[in-house]
Amino acid sequence: MTVLDRLGASAWTSTPFRLAALSIAAFLITAAGIVGFLFWQTNNLLTEQVLSGLRAEVQEMRHIEAAAGSASVAEAVKARARPEGPGLYFFADRTGRKRAGNLSRLPPELEGEGGGTFRYERQAGDQRLAVALPVLFPDGTRLLVGRDIEEQRVFANRMRTVFLLGFSLLSVAGLAGGLGAGRLLLNRIDQINAASRSIMAGDLTQRVPLAGSNDELDGLAQNLNMMLDRIEQLMSGLREVSDNIAHDLKTPLSRLRNRAEATLRDGGDCDAYRAGLERIIEEADELIKTFNAMLLVARLEAGALEGSTEAFDLGSLVRDVAEFYEPVSDEQGLELTVDVGDGPEIIANRHLVSQAVANLIDNAIKYGRPDAAGGAGKISVSLRPLNHVVEIIVADRGPGISADDRERALKRFVRLEASRTKPGTGLGLSLVSAVARLHHGTVRLEDNAPGLRAVLVLPLARQGTSA
């Protein structure tokens, strides 16, 4: 492939070239149509003028012949035929011999009956175009009345040349202008493309440059940049999540493996093996629980509520869950007070809301013991219906969560350090926040001074809507 070929190929595939060529072509076709019509009309008009003149003269000659015979026709021709005039005549007798006229001979093009255009030689080497009508008189003589139209032909020719030249100029200028404008546009698009390519290659921090012109391309670049911001957020979120998952599954997995190895190495009797295996099964069960909790959170994050919601009394659900945990808190020496009446009725997934409330109370029982020995542990569960939402509040008097960690505690698959030493998956708050999000609600963690106040906010049931 030569350089030129390549240039041609790349020019043809570039959008601005094609757009310019297309618009020029459309323009030229329209212009050619208009000019062509004009030309044709003018030509017609001129030809018609000549022909009607000829017809009048033919009529006149017929009258002369009818009145005075062919000899007077010859006189009339002699009088009219000037050597260099526009009027052309050829009068012949029955045998075809010339009797009068300024044409030297009958043009070969007009030997038949009809009239038409023909070429003749006025002077040596001066070929000219003419048009003529024939007349056949009753006595057999023959007259040809013609007009010289060479000047019209030259005019038409010049017109054609001017049009062709104009069109070529127009095509070249239009194409060049279109390409130039396109090139400018293409440069901007090339910049965006180059930025996208390096971003695709893995550099997510790069952004598409803005020209500062506030035009459509800048708008496009801005949108692309916002999309990239969002992708970067999601990517880092995903990385964090997979790191957390890896950490939370790897630790118990290596513990499981260590136990199996230790059991095998220590040997001993059947009972020792049995004890070892039992501990391994326990470890595996814990692992499965953690895995299930993660799976549930992931499904909630991705899921929709459709079809799984029902209307129920939130007050009685919260009371039931609190009652369920009451013996445990009692056993732990914590005082669980439940200040919840009946209502309000909400539309939600009952199982998930029970689980979320259970997780909040479970958390309060696990972490709600006061630091100072002898401090009385108190957990309070209450409900606060507001305008469009209802708040489920579980407050404890424990060490709480530091302000920095509060937001992190609600993130997906995040276990705060404290949770690693207690039984359970440590994913309780992640799950609560996933349930809240699924119901278009929120979770807030606040300082209970001292202790933690967890607030699960759920939207109240509205008429005619489900969740």
Binding site: N292, V328, H351, L352, N359, D362, G424
Partner: protein
């Protein structure tokens, strides 16, 4: 169908080993199926295996089984369709559905298709055994039983009164339901998850030993001050109400 079990034979069963069951396992994973067959045999039950939905359906349609264990994902015909077809055909054999799908919604779908219980993989064998033994009992219509008796412990379902050795025992409503469920399955292991699902209708892992605390509270009410304990802890499995220590 087994012979109708009346109150006295129920107590007998509770005293000894559970009656032997004939189980059909419809499961396409050979290793899982053989593990189940071997384990069930060791627990005193007989198990047949079917490797796909169609074979399973034609075997189940004979109606000779006490319990069916059906995997949800099966070649040729999926588990839910097997159960639906059986129910449409009038086969009432209790069905335990096994599934890797563990959402409450999946569970609801399973039960709606005609399953009697639903267990998520991976599961402990003891959990599965406890559940199918409980299922085989369903053959007796619960509503007709007005009284549960284990040893000298009596639960009257009409008056909601509980007595032991003639002495009344005062129980909270939830404690009453807990005891009712344990006594309904007297002589058989009841797992913590079964209690959670059937007494509280909760389908999540409470993370702490809530069930144990509830049971020990109940135990302090019915076994304290009595020489012979009736509410036993079965290590690694769950609980059992039973007359006699053996």
């Amino acid at each position: 169908m087994q012979d109708a079990i009346d109150e006295s034979s129920r107590v007998d069963a509770a005293a000894g080993r559970p009656t032997s069951m004939r189980v059909l396992v419809i499961e396409d994973d050979r290793e899982t199926a053989q593990f189940l067959q071997k384990s069930l045999k060791e627990s005193g039950h007989a198990a047949d295996l079917a490797g796909d939905g169609e074979t399973g359906l034609s075997l189940a349609e004979t109606g000779v089984y006490d319990v069916l264990i059906v995997d949800r994902m099966l070649p040729k015909l999926d588990g839910l369709s097997v159960v639906k077809t059986l129910r449409t055909g009038g086969v009432r054999t209790p069905v335990l559905i096994l599934s890797a799908l563990g959402d409450v919604d999946d569970r609801v779908k399973g039960l709606r298709a005609g399953g009697d219980d639903y267990l998520t993989k991976p599961y402990a064998y003891t959990e599965l055994l406890a559940r199918i033994e409980a299922l085989s009992r369903r053959a007796v219509p619960e509503e007709q039983v007005t009284k549960y008796v284990v040893g000298d412990l009596v639960l009257d379902r009409l008056s909601h009164r509980v007595t032991r050795g003639g002495e009344p025992i005062i129980l909270q409503p939830r404690e009453y339901r807990l005891l009712e469920y344990l006594m309904k399955n007297a002589g058989q292991v009841v797992t913590r998850t079964m209690l959670l699902e059937n007494v509280w209708d909760y389908h999540f892992d409470p993370q702490t030993n809530v069930i144990d605390v509830h049971v020990s509270r109940l135990r302090s009410k019915i076994d304290k001050n009595f020489e012979k304990p009736l509410l036993h802890t079965v290590r690694g499995a769950g609980y059992m109400v039973r007359d006699g220590a053996g």
